[in-house]
């Protein structure tokens, strides 16, 4: 089963843990119902769409309300340290959480004690905490954008807000940033870097790039990175190898974006609708995912 850990932008939203379903543009979990717009909701919606297209079901969510004060995140961190071992997840995605190194480490210790070690994916705030803790290599996949990659490459930066200028200036040289991130052990086993060109990399270097179809407007659309993370997580959970799933996910996300004929004002929900069609088009005749 796939588990997704994240936050919802509503201070009154309770801490919930349970199966997540998607009805139209709404996510349902434990009697609560939220719109799919961006952030962890968009990730969940993309993961569910992908899983359904693959004939899988049963995405599990850990969600809590947090508008940036960190209180909800800390509640969820604590909950995870006590309860994450109760399930046998194949893949866990950690997403929008208030970065907190101490709590991150406690959650990672709890995960390490699970009966079966899941595939670990981190993005957004949890990825920031994973890097800052020095535990990046404990993860199987990070999904940074190019700005976040520069942060991973800067061994001194505790948050993208502090990435040093001379490293930010290297953004056009993604391979150099990837190499620097691995040199300082601030990258996971695989990196899927999203941008005008998507890169799959590991310790050995660039494994693949995806740059077609190209929709320049995608960079401006909030949530398109979240959908990519959701798609790759669902593919891995369905039995795909991490590297192969990452490349397929990059293509699916681009194709879904292309089908939405996006402008910089397009909302991510319009792209999510096209994920099943994009996935079907790409997988037609391709037997890399177990149904």
């Amino acid at each position: 089963m796939l588990a997704v850990v994240g936050t919802t932008p509503d201070q009154d939203f309770p801490l919930v843990a349970g199966k997540v379903t998607l009805h139209g543009d709404r996510i349902h979990i434990q009697g609560n119902d939220v719109s799919v717009n961006r952030g962890t909701h968009a990730l969940l919606a993309a993961a569910i769409k992908t899983a359904e297209a693959l004939g899988h079901s049963g995405t599990f969510g850990y969600l809590v309300g947090d508008i940036g004060l960190g209180d909800g995140s800390r509640l969820l961190y604590e909950y995870l340290t006590k309860h994450i071992r109760e399930y046998d997840f194949h893949t866990i995605v950690f997403h929008y959480m208030q970065p907190d190194v101490d709590w991150h480490n406690r959650v990672l210790f709890a995960v390490e004690e699970m009966n079966r070690r899941p595939v670990l994916i981190a993005d957004a705030g949890f990825m920031y905490a994973a890097k800052m803790s020095g535990q990046a290599l404990a993860y199987d996949l990070f999904t940074p954008d190019v700005g976040e990659l520069a942060f991973l490459a800067d061994e001194n930066a505790p948050h993208p807000f502090y990435t040093r200028g001379f490293i930010l200036h290297e953004e056009n040289s993604v391979p150099d940033l990837i190499s620097r991130a691995y040199r300082h052990e601030n990258a996971s086993r695989f990196l899927l870097v999203k941008g005008r060109k998507d890169y799959l990399a590991d310790q050995e270097g660039i494994r693949a790039t995806v740059d077609n179809p190209a929709e320049k407007a995608m960079e401006a659309i909030g949530g398109t990175g979240d959908t990519l993370t959701g798609i790759v997580a669902a593919l891995i959970n369905a039995g795909g190898e991490i590297d192969e799933s990452a490349v397929i996910a990059a293509k699916v996300n681009r194709l879904a974006g292309h089908y939405a004929r996006p402008s910089p004002a397009t909302q991510v929900t319009e792209i999510i609708h096209h994920i099943p069609r994009a996935l079907a088009d790409l997988l037609r005749g391709k037997k890399c995912i177990q149904n």
């Binding site: 932008p9 509503d10 960190g70 909302q267």
Partner: protein
Amino acid sequence: MPLLNLLFRQRLPKTQKRNPDRGILVFENTSEVIRAENILKTEGWEIRVMGPPPEIQHGCDLVIEFPLIEELNILRSLQEAEISPLEAVPASSPLLQPVDILQITDYGPYLMVRAANMKLTVEKETLTIVNISGGGCPDVPYLAKEMVGKTLKDTPRPREIGHTLCGYALDLACEDMGRRCSL
């Protein structure tokens, strides 16, 4: 047309320096830092928002660098505003400099400003915020919910309703966008 001459612009990063006459104010959370910054800047104090030294970094932190000689006066100002820093200590090591490189992408009818990991996109004709992307702290989806669909004039500012470094970065993008749109 308020958005003429939208050229790619970069501000060079400042160098990190150790200042023996400077101290740092440490707060419980980023929201308090932003409130304190607003108050101290309004009162004309020479302060800067910076990254904390490594020994007190937790993950999403800001501190305020201030002239040590003015410590009592600055603390009094904060006390009057009912803000209490956790501690005020001399800056013993170089502080991290926040990103101050802004990148601009012109999409024709739309303009995007990126500050650090945060991107803000507006429709030029109406100055409506059409998208907010990037970032990883939990106030990013919240800020997007509150700001997308509003005009630059009507939107709440991230420095007023945001709480994290991502919110702070978005405010830099918002401020720059306002300048470019002659607001």
